[in-house]
Amino acid sequence: MFSILRTIWDVFLHAFAKRVTIQYPEQKAYLAARYRGRIILSRDPDGGERCVACYLCAAACPVDCIALQATEDPNGRRYPEWFRINFSRCIFCGLCEDACPTYAIQLTPDTEMSEYRRQDMVYEKENLLIDGVGKYPGYNFWRVAGVNIGGKDKGESEREAPPVDLHSLLP
């Protein structure tokens, strides 16, 4: 009984406490670099597209709002022919970022993406791809992958031995 009364009193005292509200948009809240906002596709340190169109983000997405189509350039480097995120379905859970093996897909601390038409919430690759490495500098998937792409032959990846000479009988 007393605790109820004390609760009422304590709550009443909050009338004189400092307000916690941030008066958006005049004031902006601080969003950490790892905040889960608008999704982008990043580039590797060499300026190439990081996305290798492995479909893992699409598979991880719980609302199935990511669709893409893989294709390859003449040198065998795989990339998405098109990449679409339906942000009107996205729940910004960040599972796509967790699933991404190349750090290509990243969530950014940008939340200001309201539209009057829902159709405008559908982002294509040209709306998603940025000219930077995002949160993860330095990593380039193709430097460790075993496939050869233009400018990198077999055996030239990190921790790779030169290709085996098939005509040698030495063990």
């Binding site: 290798v52 169109a53 492995c54 479909y55 893992l56 699409a58 598979a59 997405c61 609302v63 199935d64 709002c65 990511i66 669709a67 893409l68 189509q69 893989a70 294709t71 390859e72 795989r78 679409r84 995120i85 339906n86 009107s88 379905r89 093996p101 190349t102 829902r118 159709q119 919430m121 559908v122 294509e124 998937f141 460790v144 992958a145 075993g146 496939v147 077999k154 055996g155 990846s157 921790r159 790779e160 031995a161 030169p162 290709p163 085996v164 098939l166 040698s168 009988l169 063990p171």
Partner: protein, 911 residues
């Protein structure tokens, strides 16, 4: 039934299995690499280790020793442990070893998502590479447009080379190098020659060999929408699972059916799907009026077809004819027959071939012979092939026959040595090069020659005579045995002895030689064997996916239909999925179209692809391909199998039967069509059981076509319209177009794809089987229509044809078959089309020399009374003298009624 003890619990298992098979059959998750259900065990990878206890005391004391489960027989009372910490650790260390050199590729590897290595790595719990040194690398090879090579990913399980060389009989692929440097590939870059090389894609447990056609439009297995389908590219009716995404078919996977294709497909069946997106597809309805072509909306097209259908009904009888097709489903042919009437329904098959087709249908319908399934072919132990180049005309049967030829050596060599048949390399070592009796009597060399006991090359009539000679040799009570066909007496005696000695003799013949005598001879042999107390099987090879179905449905021969137009008895024709220029001599087809035009007649064509007939059509309607519609096909075995659409319906495409039904004001429904068909043709009644009806619900649900991981459903169409529409509904199948549906195993005819928890690779089919290599749970898909009737009289077999006599300056022009190119649809595909040969005419070198012709010369091949064509000359030493070969599928000569006498002359230089 042996009782085995696994981790203290007892299980009954089927006899004759090894422990790996037994454990997998019981649902244990035991990892493996080198073992394959069809290829047995070699114990190379050491991945399937288990603990084997001496006795109960040993098991209690936790003693035991490591053994490879694939190399140990599941014998009565054996005690093993799958979960023992020691074996679990051992298996983890094995996979860690395999992963030492495995590249960091999964995101860009086409195998990812249906990779056996991924599954096994997860299953054993290995997840971090401790080895810090560099990975060995290989350079890849170009293996052709069908298969991609990425050698870095290899784990040296040897499955590929075992499959390619030992199972499929290929020679141009091998393992090279030693130690850490073992390389699997060809001696140098080049297209893999074997017709079954595509199975490497499913045999390889990782991404060394991947589907190069899938790579063109790559999609993960989990993102594909699958459906149970049947291969439309030959008459064997292999079960397939085509996978579709964004409206196009991306890949075709094998769909296990123990009675038909088992684990393997031929390359035409696996890669032929690309024709679906060929520029030759009919995508829009079109009309041609006064020489002007215009595209039609689906509604306008249907209105015009309705008008035509009304014309059919209103006209005095006989004013419209219908021309059916052996590559259209039963329902499509039946719908056309119902529309125009049985009397005005004609078979869109070359007249000469149609005679043979109807003869074979009559033989099977009477129940005179046993028509074996491919599974039975694989178990036969002696075979005689009359006139069929099986690898090219019925490829999957050639693969089965190759396995069948191991039956006799396995029985006679391995069984006395007590070597189990699944102990593959021990058995192969014991057998060495032995093969069962296989006799090939063909007109040209075949790819089965390497395992044949004896091969004979002869003109089609002579092949038939050999068949008659064998029959005569088997007929003891006939004094005249072999007098008519005396030249074959020695050969016939050899074949007859072998067939008599066999437990399950098989005779294979077909229509590809266009020789009636061969069919009658096969029948005579079967009759004679039956008299001698044998139960022979006779396999008739037919050319197209529903040839037998059309023949069973019954239709009048095509020339009679053309005559009706010529004599003004008909002024309209509806052609379903057919090109008349391939079914009748070009000049006759042209005359037929001209006469239709002349009489102010109408030509309505429904087809998937464009061709000369479609171009001439007044109304052309886009028909659905096998992956885009539903229907039933009857394979050459006499097995009715249902296929269902994988693509969501669009107004611009429908099955031919669906167009025809809609035009008559009916609501098209597959089950109604089947019911009507069964009511009218009672002997097709079992066809109803080919698949469950569309009303079937399992636990209140349909079966899901999409995998439960299917991605992007709220995004795929968002660029067009962000509001998601209601998913399409298939009125003809108990299958949904979405991922929602029955999750457990459906009836075999409704399995869209194989997946089971922990198993994403093609090995996921194993838990669907009753036990390893047995039929699927609930029975295999499809229903056999034509069973042998006990005591049925064999139809009269006729007289042997006269001996073939070469004629000076003239040749018997026959058709030579090619897996790639001889079938119209698959030949339109990008990759398969690129492997198809260009037109040629082949002559025996002696013949060519006599005529003064050299290899590569431009020559004119001209069947008597038909138009001639200029083609380059090829020399083919195996071809008998007096015979000229042209490739089947060469449109200009397909309708010429080959074999046919004609001339091959040097093209006259331009005057």
């Amino acid at each position: 039934m042996p009782k085995i003890h696994i981790d203290g619990r007892s299980y009954d298992v089927a006899p004759g299995q090894n422990l790996l098979e037994a454990c997998l059959g019981l649902g244990f998750h035991l990892p493996f690499f080198c073992w394959h259900p069809a290829m047995g065990s070699v114990g190379a990878c050491r991945q399937c280790a288990i603990k084997h206890f001496k006795d109960e005391a040993d098991a209690k004391a936790n003693g035991g020793r490591l053994v490879m489960s694939c190399m140990t027989a599941a014998e009565e009372g054996i005690r093993i442990s799958v979960d023992d910490p020691q074996v679990v650790a051992f298996r983890a260390s094995i996979i860690e070893g395999m992963m030492l050199h495995h590249p960091h590729d999964c995101p860009v590897c086409d195998e990812g998502g249906h990779c056996h290595l991924q599954d096994m790595t997860v299953m054993t719990g290995h997840n971090y590479r401790r080895y810090r040194f560099s990975k060995r690398t290989f350079r890849n090879q170009y293996l052709g447009p069908l298969i991609n090579h990425e050698m870095n990913r290899c784990i040296q399980c040897y499955r590929c080379v075992r499959y390619y060389r030992e199972y499929a009989g290929g020679a141009d692929f091998n393992a090279f190098g030693i130690s850490d440097h073992v390389f699997f590939g060809r001696e140098r870059d080049g297209v893999l020659e074997n017709e079954f090389a595509g199975n490497l894609v499913e045999v390889c447990p990782t991404g060394v060999f991947t589907d190069a056609t899938l790579k063109q439009h790559y999609t993960r297995k989990w993102d594909l929408r699958w459906t149970p389908s049947v291969c439309p590219h030959c008459a064997l009716g292999c079960n397939t699972s085509p996978g579709e995404r964004y409206g196009t078919v991306r890949a075709v996977f094998n769909r296990y059916n123990s009675a038909v294709n088992g684990y393997f497909l031929c390359d035409r069946g696996r890669f032929g799907y690309e024709y679906l997106s060929s520029p030759e597809r009919v995508t829009l309805a079109r009309q041609r009026r006064d020489g002007v072509r215009a595209d039609l909306t689906p509604e306008a097209a249907l209105a015009q077809l309705t008008q035509a259908a009304a014309g059919v009904a209103a006209d005095p009888p006989g004013r419209w004819i219908g021309i059916g097709s052996p590559r259209a489903s039963m329902e499509s042919n039946f719908a056309l027959r119902q529309l125009v009437g049985a009397e005005r329904f004609f078979a869109g098959v070359e007249a000469h071939e149609w005679e043979l087709d109807t003869r074979i249908a009559a033989i099977l319908r009477q129940g005179a012979v046993h028509s074996p399934s491919l599974g039975e072919v694989e178990r036969c132990d002696a075979a005689l092939v009359l006139g069929e180049d099986l690898t090219q005309t019925a490829a999957r049967m050639a693969l089965s026959l190759r396995q069948a030829m191991r039956q006799q050596p396995l029985r006679e060599i391995c069984d006395p040595l007590k070597i189990p048949h699944w102990l593959d390399h021990a058995a192969r070592e014991a057998i060495q090069g032995e093969h069962g009796p296989l006799f090939l009597a063909t007109t040209a060399a075949t790819k089965l020659d390497d395992i044949a006991t004896h091969t004979w090359r002869a003109a089609p009539d002579d092949v038939a005579r050999l068949g008659y000679a064998v029959a005569a040799a088997l007929n003891l009570d006939q004094d005249t045995a072999g007098t008519v066909t005396a030249e074959w007496r020695a050969a016939a005696a050899e074949v007859a002895d072998a067939l008599l000695a066999a437990e399950r003799p098989l005779i294979v013949t077909g229509v590809s030689s266009g020789n009636r005598g061969q069919i009658e001879a096969a029948l005579a042999i079967a009759a004679a064997l039956a008299v001698r107390g044998k139960h022979p099987a006779v396999s008739f090879v037919l050319p197209e996916c529903n040839t037998l179905g059309l023949a069973l449905l019954g239709a009048r021969p095509l020339p009679e239909g053309m005559d009706m137009v010529r004599f003004g008895l008909a002024h309209g024709a509806i052609v379903v999925e057919n090109d008349l220029f391939r079914r009748a001599p070009a000049e006759e087809a042209k005359a037929f179209l001209a006469q239709l035009d002349q009489h102010g007649g109408h030509l309505v064509v429904l087809d998937q692809i464009r061709h000369a007939t479609a171009d001439a059509a007044e109304l052309l309607l886009p028909a659905a391909g096998v992956t885009e519609g539903s229907g039933t096909l009857i394979s050459s075995e006499g097995r009715a199998q249902r296929f269902f659409t994988v693509a969501a319906p669009t107004p611009n495409r429908a099955e031919s039967w669906s167009w025809l039904e809609a035009a008559q004001g009916h609501t098209p429904a597959l089950d109604d069509m089947v019911a009507q068909l069964c009511a009218l043709v009672p002997e097709l009644e079992p066809l109803r059981q080919a698949a469950p009806p569309a009303t079937l619900r399992l636990a209140g649900q349909k079966v899901a076509r999409e995998t439960h991981r299917f991605s992007g459903r709220t995004s795929i169409d968002a660029a067009i319209e962000v509001s998601e529409p209601k998913p399409p509904v298939d009125p003809d199948a108990p299958l949904s177009f979405t991922m929602e549906g029955y999750a457990a195993q459906p009836p075999a005819a409704l399995i869209p794809y194989f997946w089971s928890p922990g198993w994403n690779s093609p090995q996921a089919q194993l838990p669907y089987q009753q036990r390893i290599n047995a039929p699927l749970r609930g029975g295999d898909a499809g229903v056999r229509l034509l069973e042998q009737v006990a005591g049925s009289q064999f139809p009269c077999a006729g007289e042997p044809p006269p001996r073939f006599e070469p004629k000076a300056g003239r040749w018997l022009i026959i058709r030579l078959y090619h897996l790639f190119g001889s079938e119209v649809l698959s030949g339109l595909g990008r990759a398969v089309g690129s492997l198809a040969p260009d037109a040629y005419v082949a002559l025996n070198p002696a013949d060519a020399e006599r005529a003064g012709l050299k290899e590569g010369d431009a020559v004119r091949v001209e069947p008597d009374g038909r138009r001639g064509y200029q083609v380059p000359l090829r020399l083919l030493p195996e071809l008998p003298v007096g015979v000229a070969g042209v490739p089947a599928g060469f449109a200009a000569l397909d309708g010429a009624g080959l074999p046919h006498w004609g001339t091959v002359t040097a093209e006259a230089p331009h005057a």
